[in-house]
């Protein structure tokens, strides 16, 4: 089965639509959404409603820190993220907020683990920035492949049976076989706010039979998404960074 894995959509309707279209065109049969549906972007209602529909149709979704912050003022965030999340809170209705609040922190299925930040302490929202961070997450699970997001920059880590780590920045559109002899941590780029210098929306495809992961990019109408952010009075940096991909 071919999975399409999305992370960090961040209320960016244009990017989300582009990724859905691209993933379907590539034959994706099952959708996995790794959280952070809202925050930063200007279309939280549409993104959450679409996610609710997709989950009803069988998509898997987990909770991100921005999804949690909509319902809890205890989450600490930087100033711009805080402004965006307060704005988002006013835009979502009770049903949409409840949907986000009830999302699971992690989902595990047949050796695959889906989580927003990493697997060792998913509630603490640690970033995977290094092989040391990746090792902590991999040691905490027996899953063959862990999929996460949160850092908005694609990376692929592995741990051998002797606990040796490898790190790698994946090349777009080049399938990599996740060999069964080791454990893998696939960190996804962001759909709605890429930060690796490439403004196009990031997602990944994973073939559960061949165990191949392919990191993909979908170009989208960045100007429209940035315009929506400016038109809604959100901090202009949140619009500017979309065109720079950082």
């Amino acid at each position: 089965m071919l999975l399409a894995v999305f992370s960090d959509i961040h209320a960016n309707r244009q990017a989300f639509e582009a990724c859905l279209k691209a993933a379907r065109a590539k034959g994706a049969e099952q959708l996995v959404l790794l959280g952070d549906f809202v925050g930063y972007g200007a279309d939280p209602e549409w993104v959450v409603d679409t996610t609710i529909e997709l989950v009803a149709e069988g998509a898997v979704a987990v909770r991100g820190n921005h999804d949690q912050a909509v319902n809890s003022t205890a989450e600490t965030m930087n100033a711009e993220a805080q402004i965006a999340i307060e704005w988002t809170r006013g835009r979502l209705d009770t049903a949409q907020r409840r949907f986000l609040a009830e999302l699971p922190m992690m989902v595990e299925d047949e050796g695959l683990l889906f989580v927003h930040s990493e697997a060792s302490h998913p509630q603490r929202w640690h970033y995977v920035r290094s092989t040391t961070d990746a090792a902590k997450s991999l040691i905490a699970t027996s899953a063959h492949v862990t999929f996460c997001g949160h850092i908005h920059r694609p990376a692929l880590y592995s741990m051998s049976v002797t606990a040796k780590m490898t790190s790698f920045v994946p090349k777009t559109d080049v399938p990599v076989q996740l060999l069964r002899g080791r454990q893998w941590l696939a960190v996804l780029g962001s759909v709605g706010q890429p930060r690796d210098g490439d403004p196009s929306a990031a997602f990944a495809l994973f073939d559960t039979v061949s165990c191949q992961i392919t990191y993909c990019r979908a170009p989208y109408d960045v100007a429209a998404a940035a315009g929506r952010i400016r038109d809604n009075g959100l901090p202009s940096w949140l619009a500017d960074r979309l065109s720079q991909g950082r």
């Binding site: 692929l156 051998s160 049976v161 040796k164 490898t166 790190s167 790698f168 080049v174 060999l179 002899g181």
Partner: protein
């Protein structure tokens, strides 16, 4: 880890196991057959039982990732892989014959035989590098030859694929590989520079032409580290009759700093194919190693070396192409030759490591056996070489980046196409012949080259003056 269940007569995923043909330190090789596959096959099985070197597993994982992605005549075709969950294996084409290791008793080889042999290996390496793979274990026992002549590179357990995770990067604290052939930068943990393979090939060329290994056979880290500051004895010291051009090629491959080596395997293959065009530098004359002052400076400034950025195999190859400009330097229209030079200059400006081959075709008569070898003919040949070099002078290219070639052929387009193919040319620049009447009779050379070349072709025309519509032909092919 499951124990290997491989024995003669057993069946794994449809492959019937035959006999064990090799048992090495890391893996065993078995002949296998499969209904529906009618080429001879080999199954490679890693040694994974307890007490074995964990390196065997990791290098086998690398082969499992890399082999299925490789294509072309210079690699063994891969038919299938099985992973460690059941029985790890790769099934590859069985290349008949022996590896180059069998030739060691014949060393040193005649210079020309070694030149042709290593040129074929360089061509294979170029093809591998173009597929984003650095071999990292170039040595006689990793090299075979097809009956059709192409070199085949085998054993990818230490290789690096620029588009795949490098499982070996952090696995070993010590560099892993074959000590006598290992490039100095490998000792510093560098695994992403394709020029490491050119160093190993330089070791092989030195060994095959002199009978001695340039850095000895030392396996200890201390012995290996010497090559970070100590250059080898020039081959001329070992064999006084060593041709200067060959010493130039060998010592360029064995430069300590990768940046002083050939930028690509294609450029090395080019020099080996055209020994008369090799630009001789001080390297070719040397009979002694570097003076101790130089060696000490290298040795004690190790820490001061600038940290290097990660290199990108594809980007490096792309910045070091072989360009061929086909021109008629003697009889061609001056404005066309000038336009060709302007275009060539622009292309070279963006490619600091490109090399340029200036090509001219001396057309032979279809009917009579052309007397190109008589007094007049050979002068014709030299006159054209002089004219080509004169044309290239304003480009101010370093001699090592420039060569001139006069091809003798009945069909100029076919000759240019063959030259481009044989020399792995990346980009042909050719002028569109202007006189329509002559072209009507002869056919368009540039159109044929543009249509049939396997590389990029740029067709150049001189700037057109307003109202001058008859000068060039709009139907001429474009690149």
């Amino acid at each position: 880890m499951p124990k290997p269940l491989v024995r003669s007569g057993a069946e794994i995923d449809g492959y019937t196991i035959g006999e064990c043909v090799h048992a090495g330190g890391m893996a065993t090789l078995w002949t296998v057959t499969h209904p529906g596959i009618d080429v001879p096959l080999l199954m490679k099985i890693p040694r994974v039982s307890e007490g074995e070197d964990p390196a065997a597993i990791v290098s086998f994982e690398m082969e499992m990732m890399i082999l299925p992605r490789l294509a072309g005549p210079h690699v063994p075709a891969c038919f299938g892989t099985g992973d460690f969950a059941r029985q790890a294996y790769v099934v590859i084409e069985r290349i008949p014959g022996a590896t180059l290791y069998k030739r060691l008793p014949d060393l040193p080889l005649p210079y020309d035989e070694a030149r042709q042999l290593v040129a074929r290996i360089a061509t294979a390496l170029a093809d591998l590098h173009r597929q984003n793979v650095i071999h990292h274990d170039i040595k006689p026992s990793s090299i075979m030859f097809r009956e059709s002549g192409e070199a085949v590179l085998i054993d990818y357990g230490l290789s690096h694929h620029n588009h795949l995770p490098d499982l070996l990067q952090e696995e070993f604290r010590l560099p892993y590989g074959t000590a006598p052939y290992m490039a100095p930068e490998r000792l510093l943990g560098v695994r992403d520079d394709p020029r490491s393979d050119l160093f190993s090939l330089g070791v092989l060329l030195y060994f095959f032409t002199t009978g001695v290994r340039p850095f000895g056979e030392g396996e200890t880290l201390r012995a290996m580290r010497r090559r970070l500051w100590r250059d080898p004895h020039p081959p001329r010291k070992v064999r006084p009759d060593y041709p200067p051009w060959l010493q130039e090629v060998v010592l360029r491959c064995l430069e300590i700093e990768p940046v002083w080596r050939y930028p690509t395997a294609s450029q090395l293959a080019f020099d080996l194919a055209h020994p008369d065009q090799v630009k001789l530098t001080a390297r070719s004359e040397r009979v002694k190693r570097d003076p101790l002052s130089v060696v000490w400076r290298r040795r004690f400034n190790q820490g001061a070396m600038a940290p290097r950025a990660k290199s990108d195999v594809a980007a490096q190859i792309a910045s070091s192409p072989i360009l061929a400009v086909a021109l008629d330097a003697m009889e061609g229209a001056p404005e066309l030759n000038e336009a060709l030079r302007v275009t060539t200059e622009r292309i070279l400006a963006t490619l600091p490591s490109a090399r340029l081959a200036c090509v001219n075709v001396l057309k032979l008569s279809r009917i009579a056996i052309d007397r190109s070898l008589d007094e007049e003919g050979s002068n014709k040949h030299i006159d054209r070489l002089v004219a080509l070099r004169h044309w290239a002078t304003p480009l101010k290219l370093d001699e090592s980046r420039l060569s001139a070639h006069v091809l003798e052929a009945v069909d100029p387009a076919a000759a240019i196409l063959e030259f481009a193919k044989a020399n792995q040319v990346d980009h042909v620049i050719i002028g569109a012949r202007q006189h329509s009447f002559r072209r009507m009779l002869l056919g368009s050379v540039s159109a044929k080259v543009a249509a049939e070349a396997t590389c990029t072709v740029t067709v150049v025309r001189p700037p057109r003056l307003a109202g001058d519509v008859g000068g060039t032909d709009a139907n001429e092919a474009t690149g």
